[in-house]
Symmetry: C2
Amino acid sequence: MPNVVVLPGDGIGQEITPEAIKVLKAVLKDSSLKLEFENYLIGGAAIDEAGKALPDDTLEAALAADAVLLGSVGGPKWDTLPAQQRPELGGLLAIRKALSLFANIRPVKMLPMLVEASTLRPEVVKNVDLVVLRELTGGLYFGEKGRKTNPPSAYDTLIYSDEEIRRIVDLGFQMARQRCGKLCSVDKANVLESSRFWREITLDVAKKYPEVELTHMYVDNAAMQLVRYPTQFDVIVTENMFGDILTDLASMLMGSIGMISSASLNGKKGLYEPAHGSAPDIAGKNIANPLATILSGALMLRYSFDLEDEAKLIERAVESVLEQGYRTTDLAKPGDKVLGTREMGDAVVAAL
Amino acid sequence: MPNVVVLPGDGIGQEITPEAIKVLKAVLKDSSLKLEFENYLIGGAAIDEAGKALPDDTLEAALAADAVLLGSVGGPKWDTLPAQQRPELGGLLAIRKALSLFANIRPVKMLPMLVEASTLRPEVVKNVDLVVLRELTGGLYFGEKGRKTNPPSAYDTLIYSDEEIRRIVDLGFQMARQRCGKLCSVDKANVLESSRFWREITLDVAKKYPEVELTHMYVDNAAMQLVRYPTQFDVIVTENMFGDILTDLASMLMGSIGMISSASLNGKKGLYEPAHGSAPDIAGKNIANPLATILSGALMLRYSFDLEDEAKLIERAVESVLEQGYRTTDLAKPGDKVLGTREMGDAVVAAL
Ligand SMILES: CC(C)[C@H](C(=O)O)[C@@H](O)C(=O)O
Ligand SMILES: CC(C)[C@H](C(=O)O)[C@@H](O)C(=O)O
């Protein structure tokens, strides 16, 4: 039986992961594939109980698992630790690197009933349906970093190898081919050497995909265009740091990051998590929005287990619950029927 | 007589700089200060006529000048040159570095009559009044860069010295003190060593400004917050690459980058330019919007010549022209009175 390692993590992570599991179990009820779920510690919870953000048994289990479902990590309690030991670096970045999850995928698809939640005008965001593909294990995040004296200074290195660029860009072309056939590669080739290299390799990979329309855009312009005219995009592919900024920005088109799921992949092996954080301020109150985690569960079925039909069932169930006017507080407007975290999970199960 | 070096550059730069000069001359008509304007080559125009993007006489004149007014550089004609020779790197970045213009200021103030031009909802952008202060001569732009073999790779270095951070952050505090007293320092201290250094120094500089409220924000969150709730910001200070992305994003709140002026400063010495590019597609048609360049002229009076009253006169004249319903094509909606580039310059002069 395929095995899923569940890492609830901190804050609302503890509340939203059970809802995703509930939905996954429900959708697989009549399927021949069953999944086994096993909980492990990560992040602040792991620091408190096991002395470090990514304990050895968590890492071993994750390496052996077929897929990983993550809630969220971090919180003020651990913010005073040295950066490398904190839940984010010591937990999240460490597991990304250890599992070689080089491709982070965040789909941003506007649902008609959420158009009103966006701070952008309805006509601008109405038909948004794009995916940001972010390189996740290279660049400034993992390059050599340190301090120098004389003069006192600090540095980080943005470095990419041919191979690192090639595999993520290739995936971008594959995704574009399965969608609307448009790939936009975002870089800063007018200034950065790593971006010029990125562009050269992208042009080389492009030869294999003559059916995909490739464009290049500078990152400053891409940030503008996402706000100005987001429906021009199909698949965006970019390096780690630019991707960090653009994925969050793209999420904001939806009004709330509470709806954005993500998959971090290395082939079929994947870690699935909501794009939002651990929201310590609302943790433990049964008011967090579990939909991004539930939708991350759908991505898990799609990418790790090839269960496209079941993935679509979950996505449709989420849409139907929203169509019925049910909302968690982050999305609620006057007149909406507000549900708690658990109740939203139940509503999705009922809609399946 | 103080001397202003004018660098029209390429594309619409040739059309918009004369309008700014026209307005500057008009506003100083009855003033005791007169400015002398002298044109020099930069960018593609300089490559064509003098063989390089920043000719020696241009550089000498700029170094000796009291202020520099720039149009815009670049265009498809020069895009096939090696990056270092192109108008952007060889011209714009080179002059920024040569004049040590470490502080780039872009004010983003929503004018009531332009609220409809934004792709964001009116209630979100209505009262936006913020300034992005971007470090302009350090970081990834100017750190060591190159290629490596084995494995083939390319790198750029994000490096900041104590002194480089201190002077820009200090300016941020000064600006915040003169405005609403709020400074938001944007970094990625949960991942980057240079950002942790930035934060330490920012906290140190903060001791001198107890009256300013300092906050820190991660760059991915800052990109989101600019779209979600932009009126929370007063002054934003950040490093070069993040600033490149966030200034363009912030400009987009106004609907068009055609209204955004900028000042690049080292003390009183400054280079003033519109935030937009050379727009080769509309060049030579007398339809470009000269207002960002005219407003950059106002910034010149403010920052290089301490003429706050005259700067305000220009800003009010621009507002009054817009209030009368005059627009260039980039801002026009049905019912507006559309003006050409020269006619818009004349209208501002008339409104002074
Ligand atoms: C928590 C942080 C280190 C992380 C990142 O920057 O990758 C987060 O912002 C994300 O996008 O997943
Ligand atoms: C043209 C380019 C090199 C420049 C930059 O990145 O600084 C531009 O985007 C800007 O913001 O002035």
